[in-house]
């Protein structure tokens, strides 16, 4: 059977859209539903909330959804009117703008942390002040060894204690273990999906799942919804392979580390124009994580330290180069597209290090695209297309 181009409004795409909508609807409905809402830095495990039947809200991720819908500017402008500089990361600024404009669900508590950046950490302080709600800072180490895991386990224990005291509730150990069990299963399924993406040609489309691989595990970790999502994606991938309905590919790409919402159209264009498929993203890569429901907080500590995008910005950049090595080898990457988000020192400062690594160890070329992750005022899509054309002409 000849391969046809699976539509981007495929089953995966539709379910993902519903998935995201439900996730954020639960946050906006939390108060009416009598549930506590916790604003969280996107590094932190959602399982902490689900263990307490609370609802997590990740403002930077909501900022991304708003960017995709073309409505993020009001948050950015609110933050800039308050005094935040134009050059600051738009993800951070969108979170600040939400708090300042009051157009986001009000938190009952705030959990913050220091990775990936100072801005992300400080903005959660602003949120806590703005809403006059309790705030707890989780100190995340960058070492993934025994000491690092033990330390973070203690920090997460402190966070749970803070939440139970703030909410006047009791933690159910059984519920916590159940949540971690669900989280573990979602991680396993995510690994299975990523194994399927190693196939040549890769059965999933760039745009279809871009940025979605990490979402369920990161923000709905500990829920049945995340498990159902990954199971569905794996099923779709297997079916396409079985039916031979997989889009042809000439170039296998790694996209790093993030994609701006306004660049999504580029992904499909890459597939159609150059047969260049994004077979892995830095945020979509799932390392194998040892999780044991009998040791729930230790499991969450391990997961947090291996977290997807944030782990790339935690600690010295050189520690994260191994992940590039693994992906390039495991997914047989031909080229890397690296989006250098202007507002992010972490991302921009790693450009040379990553580029040199790819060239010296793998002879894999890397295209650097400049722009802003959310801000539509700083996203020259046509310029990016021109750079992509030059890049692929170079590869030919």
């Amino acid at each position: 059977m000849a391969a046809t181009i699976p539509q981007i409004d495929s089953e995966v795409q539709k379910q993902y859209a519903q998935f995201v909508a439900n996730f954020f609807k639960s946050a906006f409905d939390a108060r009416n539903a009598g549930k506590k809402l916790v604003w969280m830095a996107y590094y932190l495990p959602s399982e902490l909330c689900y263990a307490l039947d609370a609802v997590p809200f990740y403002p930077e991720i909501w900022g991304g959804v708003c960017a995709r819908q073309g409505i993020v500017l009001k948050y950015l402008e609110a933050a800039e009117s308050f005094g935040y500089p134009r050059e600051l990361c738009s993800a951070t600024k969108s979170a600040a703008g939400m708090a300042l404009s009051g157009e986001a669900p009000p938190p009952d508590a705030v959990l913050s942390t220091q990775p990936v950046c100072d801005g992300g950490m400080k903005v959660h302080e602003l949120v806590a002040v703005r809403y006059k709600c309790p705030h707890f800072f989780i100190d995340v180490p960058y070492t993934k060894d025994k000491n690092g895991i033990e330390y973070l386990t203690g920090e997460l224990e402190g966070a749970l204690k803070f939440l139970t005291e703030s909410f006047g509730t009791e933690l159910s150990e059984a519920r916590l273990k159940k949540v971690v069990e669900l989280s573990k299963r979602a991680e396993e399924l995510h690994l299975e999906v990523n194994e399927l993406r190693k196939k040549k040609p890769s059965p999933l489309l760039s745009l279809e799942l871009f940025g979605q691989y990490f979402f369920p595990c990161s923000f709905l970790g500990g829920t049945q919804a995340a498990i159902d999502f990954y199971a569905m994606v794996a099923e779709v991938a297997k079916r396409r392979i079985k039916e031979g309905n997989v889009l042809e590919e000439k170039y296998r790409l790694l996209w790093a580390p993030l994609v701006p919402q306004s660049f999504l159209s580029i992904l499909q264009w890459l597939e159609l124009e150059y047969k260049a498929k994004v077979v892995m993203e830095m945020v979509g890569y799932a390392p194998k994580i040892e999780m044991d429901a009998a040791k729930p907080l230790e499991s969450l500590a391990r997961k947090t330290l291996e977290a997807r995008f944030p782990s790339l910005g935690n600690g010295p950049g050189v520690l994260n180069l191994d992940r590039y090595r693994e992906i390039v080898k495991d997914y047989d990457i031909d080229a890397v597209i690296y989006f250098a988000h202007w507002g992010c020192r972490t991302i921009c400062s790693a450009v040379k290090m990553v580029k040199d690594l790819l060239r010296e160890e793998f002879d894999v070329p890397m295209l650097v695209l400049d722009g802003d992750i959310f801000d539509p005022r700083n996203n020259p899509v046509e310029q990016a297309r021109a750079r992509v054309e030059e890049f692929f002409e170079m590869l030919e």
Binding site: P365, L369, D370, Q383, A386, E389, E390, M394
Partner: protein
């Protein structure tokens, strides 16, 4: 065999006609607001000069046309379009076979391209964030200084103490230049300062892709000897500049067209 390369830039359109692999005619015109018409006119002008030397041809009779430049996609009559990066590389390499680093400074863009020993494009970078380091930057500041852009190069060579232009943004650089004018700073020093500012910006881009000898400078700004000298001083390298640097991209396009005719594109 008659082929053409046409480089549709933001300010000028350049055409090169090759006859049996040799440059037979070239033209440079203002692009204006209609890239397609400008490209057609540029080739027709080149063909006209060719006719004066007894070679009669029309655009339709050309064996192959390759378009490049920012407006390349508007050139409907082209058989093929190629990016500036590829065409600059091919053109510069043809002019200087030893070249490994090509710097192209056009009206609104600047690019640095690194080539392999065999001339294959290995890496490149372009100015995506601002107009500093481009012809437009020079043009704007020349107007403020009150000197024709074509005179900037020679004047800057007379500078004794180049002014410090620290702003990368053309608007802020303009303010700096105005303040130097108010301080009665010699105009030669101001211009040299502007050239140094551009060379600093380009040098950073060169380092980003890695400098390999030899280095060639192409694009319209390469006609400014002041920029060439400033870049040589900054990079510590001798920089090769072709006689007509602005047509290097169109030449590359024409060479690609010739190769396509030979069946080797």
């Amino acid at each position: 065999m008659l082929v053409a390369g046409v480089d549709v830039g933001s300010l000028t359109v350049k055409a090169v006609i090759l006859k049996d692999g040799e440059v037979a005619a070239t033209t440079t015109l203002i692009t204006g607001d209609d890239a397609a018409t400008a490209a057609r006119t540029a080739i027709n002008e080149a063909l006209k000069s060719l006719a004066e030397r007894g070679v009669s041809a029309t655009l339709d009779s050309l064996d192959y046309v390759v378009a490049t430049g920012v407006g390349r996609k508007e050139v409907a009559f082209a058989h093929e379009v190629k990016t500036d990066v590829r065409c600059d590389a091919v053109g510069a390499r043809h002019l200087f076979p030893s070249v490994r680093t090509v710097v192209d400074i056009g009206a609104e863009s600047c690019k640095v391209i690194r080539l392999s020993k065999k001339g294959r494009v290995e890496d490149f970078t372009a100015n995506d964030k601002c107009a500093s380091g481009t012809g437009m930057f020079l043009d704007t500041l020349a107007k403020v200084i009150g000197v024709g852009v074509e005179k900037l190069g020679e004047l800057s060579l007379k500078a004794k103490e180049p002014a410090k232009i620290s702003s990368m943004c053309v608007v802020f650089a303009e303010s700096e230049v105005i303040s130097y004018i108010h301080k009665k700073t010699p105009v030669e020093d101001i211009i040299a300062g502007v050239h140094e500012s551009i060379s600093n910006r380009i040098f950073g881009m060169m380092n980003r892709v890695g400098i390999e000898k030899d280095v060639a400078l192409v694009g319209g700004v390469a006609r400014n000897v002041g920029v060439v000298r400033a870049l040589e001083a900054r990079a510590g390298e001798n920089i090769l500049v072709p006689e007509a640097p602005q047509i290097a991209g169109a030449l590359g396009a024409a060479l690609i067209a010739a190769k396509a005719c030979e069946g080797g594109a």
